[in-house]
Amino acid sequence: MVTVYLPIAELSVNIFIILGMGAAVGFLSGMFGVGGGFLITPLLIFYNIPPVVAVATGANQVVASSISGAITHFRRGTLDVKLGTVLLFGGLAGATVGIWLFSILRSVGQLDLVISLLYVVLLGVVGSLMLWESVNALRRAAKNQQVTLRRPGQHNWVHGLPLKMRFKKSKIYLSVIPVIVLGFGIGILTSIMGVGGGFIMVPAMIYLLRIPTNVVVGTSLFQIIFVTAYTTVIQATTNYSVDIVLAFILMVAGVIGAQYGVRVGQKLRGEQLRALLGLLVLAVGLRLAVDLVVTPADVYSVVSAGIYR
């Protein structure tokens, strides 16, 4: 067993387990085009990394896993910088509020609980939706039915809001209010949960804001990189909880795993894979839920105020 000491988490871990986690989540994120933060953070918590460190380090890891995708989209021109900047405005504000909430929750001893609860809800919802959608797709494929998607481009209540702005690249004329609100919400999730939030932002941009699909992924990655980078710096300065050693091991394994994930993902059938990912996400959520309900080994815990040394 090759152990490595994590200076901020203050514990020794088996480096192969961390590499394995990073590679596995990187593989999945490459295969499905997701950031993977929503899997990395719970896995770290299962491996006894303090949730405070897991969340802050997860945000740092997402920077690395999102950057190559963003570079690609920028080169191809499938990135709306103006729309991304408006999203980013909301995102930075959300992350600031989120870290403030994070510090308060930490000082009253409810942070671990809130992180777990948010993950149980998030993973439960995302996993169920993935499973539902992929099972339906499989059924349709079996019956040879046509896929009937609601077409983007139709108007809904969102398009009646004021403060409209023209986004040339996206070829859309849209109120900035829902964009900022969406960015704000994702910013809070980034800071409290250590996720990029792409798996919520992408569907919301397509179905709610009716933004053309070709610019959605690149633009969300643009927002994710800056918000996760900002969150990393703010977490480091307010909570001292970014473990650079842990983050580095995860990101190296992650970016390599992602490359293989992309290749495998291109060869295999999407619906079955999405069903599997849905099941995995549900399993992780369930495991967190069980930990909340099962009687703990010791109901007492002690923390020193000297976390700030």
């Binding site: 000491y5 896993s65 950057i67 609980l113 480091a236 815990s301 000297g306």
Partner: protein, 264 residues
Amino acid sequence: MTRAALMFLALLVLPVRAACAQEDVRPEYEEKMEIGISTDEIAISSDFRGADLTIFGAIDGYDPSLLAQGKYDVVVALEGPKDDSTVRVKERLFGIWVNRRSMTFELVPESYSLSSTRDIEAIAPAAALNGIGVGIQHIKLNPVGFVGDGSNLSEFRDAFRRLKESGGFYQRDPGGVQFISASLFRATVRLPANVPNGTHVVRAHLFRDGVFISEKALPLQVMKTGVEQMISNAAYDNPLAYGLLSVLLAVVTGWLASIVFRKE
């Protein structure tokens, strides 16, 4: 290397007193105690798995007849840096376990390693030990803020002691102090594997027939060394630079990966 750094030997040159003349003038004995360690600084690396620290000491001005009967007891404690400590208790709320009640104790040592000539409960009555705060069961645990009628005070104090002991932060060794000659003693205290960084205090207490008579304290600086500690120091001392470096590392890693794998 760690072990080597911890090999302490301190021999004190004892001031030899001319005891002959004093005996008839002053039947009361005024015991004095001196202690010594070879260093006031210990450097430990991150692979530190705990070690023993040896402290030498001498009692001076003792009553030879009491000493012969073994009526003198020495208790040596290594107290870690002090900080406020909060104990929380989880209770079931809507089916899930939630931290509900808590109590914060003011400036308690993060680590505490006790060594004595015999079980300290046998050395002095509990009230005396409480008074000077010597022993894991007697260490001063003063709650911060309003605690109501104080009925749950002992619940939290007991939980605190139990958690600190099971975590290895608080330790005791009821045979760790041994007399190596009539008045010279050697105390061995354990530095736990997770010993906190900072200023510790070696505190020796002398008891005569159950009565506390003298105390001596020496500071001991525990400094963690190595790459891991450098990273940890950077994170706490230069958090902005550390955070920016973490981001830079992520950007470079992601960017390099996109270059390396681009051709395929």
